[in-house]
């Protein structure tokens, strides 16, 4: 068995072995490059972790998770102190921030916000009904798109341990990842993939470059300048890099692999990147939620079966019909997966979105089919979450915000195709007959309630929304082609 180390021990071991080696590279607000050696990182982490360890046992800590050295250090410090950490999008509007902090307050006795000086400050939460504190320890918590119209929080059970055989996880190791590699983190640290990548890469002694915001030209420049070997991107990053930065294959010569996750990648972007890197350096990972199972597809597998998300990696896949019967290859149904760690599943605070079978298969409700060789293909579902450049937006949340306006009688939110983001939010709104409200007023109304990417970009006023007898919106009766571009 490989030894398991606490995060604090692992960081101090690396700092002892190579104190002057580079751990993290980031940028300040003037975009001046800053470097932290392992010794410096270990020092900052120990200082902050000391303050966090002094907090009462039922505490969690919130880090304003811009892609900065202080944010990364704060996250690592919380993991070292074994205090559950929640990386917060610094641009979260006040109303949504309050909702998230209250959700955390339902689970933890105290919620603390990490200050710029590295110390925690307790957040005052309004008194409310208290559910009993959950006694399971959590390593970290992540905000996630939910299905009921309210922000949700996913929990990674803790404490986190370093294990050479499992950090990073086996599937990630399959995608060209090597210990000690130079890695660029492009996506925001408050998202699951960049967050877990940061944690894994620090524990696996990577040299990590944190791009403080996404700009396609800058990404290309950073890869070349720091001879980046591995990075994870979303399809939106990939599209924008291709369309706006127009890189030459030579600028990506140092890359061993690029992994993309999150949203579905359109075929044009996929082919563009295969041209850029060659089919053996591009990987796609489809994994519903941690612990349920996942598929991997390398570029050459995708070229042989365009559109596939790959075959199960240490994962068995079954496609089931609505009666729970297994269907034959080529037939579509609900995608169920079974993998080796049934206990590592992320739990959602206060809600269960995963459906399981008695024999250990689980699904988040995605639809698709398998070919004869076991390659999985996913089908689009019109009533799914809307993917705005990798951000999952729940149409119910947008609808709820608009229904909050006194002049809005009914509303439906839809994904509208968009060149670089994949889709943006469009809404059809039924107003009170006497209303004089304008589109701009509704947009401003949404702006006070929703994060920027959730604000509808297209407003269409209609007479009525098609609904079923039970009142459910019949989304399939709505198509997005007729929406006005304004």
């Amino acid at each position: 068995m490989t030894p398991m180390l606490t995060v604090a021990h692992r960081i101090s071991h690396i700092a002892r072995d190579e104190p002057a080696g580079t751990a993290l590279i980031g940028f300040d607000s003037e975009l001046a490059e800053q470097t932290l050696s392992w010794q410096e990182l270990a020092g900052h982490v120990e200082e902050t972790a000391g303050a966090l360890r002094a907090l009462p046992g039922s505490s969690c800590v919130v880090v304003e998770a811009g892609n900065t050295l202080p944010a990364a250090t704060g996250i690592i410090a919380a993991l070292a102190a074994e205090v559950p950490v929640f990386p917060l999008n610094p641009a979260t509007p006040p109303a949504e921030r309050t909702t998230l902090l209250r959700l955390l307050g339902l689970r933890f006795g105290q919620v603390h916000l990490l200050q710029p000086d590295g110390g925690p400050r307790r957040v005052d939460l309004p008194p409310g009904p208290r559910t009993p504190p959950d006694d399971r320890t959590a390593a970290y918590l992540l905000a996630t798109g939910g299905s009921t119209g309210v922000p949700k929080i996913a929990v990674r059970p803790g404490p986190l341990r370093y294990d050479a055989a499992r950090t990073p996880s086996l599937p990630i190791r399959q995608t060209g990842w090597r210990s000690g590699q130079r890695q660029l983190i492009v996506g925001p640290l408050f998202h699951a993939a960049p967050f877990t990548t940061l944690v894994d890469s620090v524990l696996d002694r990577n040299i990590v470059v944190l791009q403080s915001f996404f700009s396609p030209q800058w990404t290309v420049e950073l890869v070349a300048r720091h001879a980046i070997e591995w990075m994870q991107l979303t399809p939106t990053h990939m599209r924008e890099i291709l369309l706006l930065a127009r890189p030459e294959p030579a600028s990506f010569a140092s890359l061993r692999a690029v992994l993309h996750t999150a949203a579905r990648c359109d075929p044009e972007t996929k082919r563009g990147w295969i041209d850029l890197l060659g089919p053996q350096r591009l990987y796609e990972l489809y994994g519903a939620t941690e612990g349920i199972g996942l598929t991997l597809a390398r570029g050459d597998e995708w070229l042989a079966r365009p559109g596939t998300v790959g075959r199960g990696f240490l994962t068995q896949i079954r496609i089931m019909d609505s009666a729970g019967r297994r269907v034959a290859p080529g037939t579509a149904g609900t995608v169920f997966m079974r993998t080796a760690q049934p206990h590592g599943r992320s739990a959602y605070v206060g809600d269960q979105v995963v459906r399981t079978t008695p024999d250990g298969f689980a699904t988040v409700g995605d639809h698709g089919w398998l070919d004869e060789k076991g390659y999985l293909f996913l089908n689009n579902r019109t009533h799914d979450l809307i993917n705005v450049g990798g951000e999952k937006v729940d149409p119910n949340e947008v609808e709820a915000a608009l229904l909050d306006h006194p002049d809005v009688l009914d509303v439906v939110a839809l994904g509208v195709p968009h060149d670089t983001l994949g889709s943006v939010i469009g809404v059809r709104v039924v107003l009170r007959p006497s209303s004089t409200v304008h589109r701009v007023d509704l947009a401003a109304h949404c702006g006070r309630r929703l994060a920027g990417y959730k604000i509808p970009k297209q407003f269409t006023f209609v007479e009525e929304i098609p609904r079923s007898a039970s009142g459910k919106i019949q989304r399939w009766r709505l198509d997005t082609t007729g929406i006005e571009q304004n």
Binding site: A165, R166, L170, R311, G312, F313, L314, T315, Q316, R338, T339, A340, Q341, P342, H343, T356, P358, D359, G360, G374
Partner: protein, 171 residues
């Protein structure tokens, strides 16, 4: 001889089991004992079958455990016909000994990599239902590659997933 009630009692004592009923039914011209269980935490049927074997010894006679959402009942007792159909359609795996040398060598590899007794590994048991994790999967694959001197793909292994079906690939 162990009674059905004793098997149910042992299963109920397992922390992951909420309800358990054992029954004897005819399968392939023989009487076999199987149990149906409702779980609080997911556990594979073969894991529970082996748990009973460890508690009650080899002569527990329990051939398989079926994991279900709710135990099928008929007139106040467990519905034997439903259990029999679960055995027939493969939802409930019965313990089977390895039938030849290839299977015996595979059972040895399974048991070493998964830290189980040789008697715990049935030839038809699914690797995941037997409690295999990702590291032991890679361990089993590496050991098979060495023992049989041929490459075995991770996907091939997980699709086959039992000693018997992996043996079919190797033969």
């Amino acid at each position: 001889m162990v009674t059905l009630a004793e098997i149910s009692r042992v299963l109920l004592a397992h922390p992951g089991v909420r309800r358990a009923e054992a029954a004897t039914l005819r399968h392939d011209g023989k009487d076999v004992t199987i149990a149906a269980v409702e779980l609080t935490d997911y556990l594979g049927g073969p894991v529970l079958r082996d748990y009973v074997r460890q508690q009650l010894g080899e002569d527990s006679g329990l051939a398989g455990v079926l994991t279900v959402e709710s135990i099928p009942m008929n007139d106040g007792s467990v519905d034997v016909a439903q259990l029999a159909s679960a055995v027939d359609d493969g939802r409930c795996t019965l313990f089977e000994s390895p039938k030849d040398d290839v299977e015996r060598r595979l059972v040895t590899i399974w048991s070493e990599q998964m830290r189980l007794d040789v008697e715990s590994v049935g030839a038809n048991d699914d690797f995941l239902e037997l409690g295999g994790d990702s590291l032991s999967a890679l361990g089993v694959i590496a050991a098979i590659e060495t023992e049989f001197d041929r490459p075995l793909d991770v996907f091939e292994f997980m699709s086959a997933s039992s000693v018997r079906r992996v043996a079919d690939i190797l033969r």
